[in-house]
Amino acid sequence: METLDKGTKAEEYLCMQADRNKIPLSTAFELLPLCNMNCEMCYIRMSREELARQGRIGSADEWLHIAEEMKEAGTLFVLLTGGEPMMHPQFWEIYRGLRSMGMVVTINSNGTLIGRGAAERFASDLPRRVNITLYGADNDTYSRLCRNPHGFEQAMAGIRLLKERQVPVKLNASIVPENKEDLPKLLQIADDLDLPIEVNTYMFPCIRNGRNAYDPAARLSFQEAADCDIQIRRWEQKERFAAYAGEILKKWERAGESPAHSRQIACRAGKSSCWINWKREMTPCVFMEQPAVPISGGKALEGWRQIVAACAGIQLAEACGTCPKREICQRCAAAAYWETGEFGGVPEYLCRYTDEVIRRLNEICRDAEAAATCQ
């Protein structure tokens, strides 16, 4: 998961420079694992009792000390996340403190705790963006999936309050069996509100915080995931979808003409981005539990160096680097690890998911050609 998403040209330039020089330009602060909702598929959320057994949340002072160290190391972009970060009792102190350091702050939130007061505070010192995750398109889905029967209306109210005050908002959504029927409506909501939306159809089969086995039924089958993927691409591309399908298929057909992918981590984790979890341990990204380096007590810079070294040593599967589907497949180091137990493993679920996407795109192109012939 990129901690700095949909960047501007200036941001992309800074990322490129930071990747090259191994500067932690973008850091996520996972303030706490608590949330006011309780979503089926969430692998971060803990109850207060579970949290107390494993540790404690950091105070604003602790987080701002870490922020000062990361600032010295080169962090400019901070993502505040959780759980639900606005549940942190000192959320605003942390936000103000980061902003006074000149940090560019993005917040990941479920939006249900954003009332008029919070919207006014954001409006008086704008964040880069507030990413609101929608879990469904109505209260019924929120009730089934998140155990919050008013969650949808609360989230929508929060979004409207932010929009009225010109606070930048992006919608996020993750599709699971309980909300897959809501996908068309979620895309319609984005259209109606004129907001960007990022929809994830791939769910990492990961566990965290000492939980037991992952439940495969918690995510879509590869066919369902591919179906949702196609729906999203069709919505994004609109009338040029058939042409887009052709472009994607060309990447697959011509894979032999392009260089193999490096076996090293392709994303920014351990190059220009990192994740600091609620226990104040630094990891490469939210989906990688290891390496996890404790950084409290002035150890953030050293922690970053360890993360960089560890990530440089991670090797992905050679087969994935030469696979003809490599330009289309979503695999990453974390996905390979969680799907197979090894960074160098081949994630079968993603292979089949990508095969299905390609099959569907081929069908779409054939239908488009047939329609053009008939006209």
Binding site: A10, Q17, G74, G102, S124
Partner: protein, 95 residues
């Protein structure tokens, strides 16, 4: 001149940026990249008491003739004033 305190300079590696905070974000919610001469002027702007003193600093630091330094500094300072990054402290607004 004085800096608008709602712009914070950050240096990341070899790059320098200005970050708006507070109410300034209502005018511009992004980041402003600065080249080296602009960053130098930003750092000096509230340390000198006149435009000519600023030009002195530039010619002391960089291998540039005074006329070029004046011309370039005038352009940079004018843009900074226009965009609200710096504010005149003299009553006649000449500095």
């Amino acid at each position: 001149m004085k800096k608008n305190r709602e712009f914070i300079m950050r240096t990341i590696g070899e790059d320098t940026v200005l970050i708006p905070v507070g109410q300034s974000t209502r005018e511009f919610n992004g980041l402003i990249t600065m080249n080296e001469p602009t960053a130098f002027i930003w750092e000096q702007i509230d340390q000198v008491d006149s435009f000519e003193a600023l030009v002195d600093k530039i010619t002391e630091t960089y291998d540039v003739d005074r006329e070029t330094a004046r011309r370039d500094a005038y352009g940079i300072v004018s843009r900074m004033v226009r965009n609200g990054l710096i504010v005149p402290t003299r009553e006649d607004h000449t500095w």
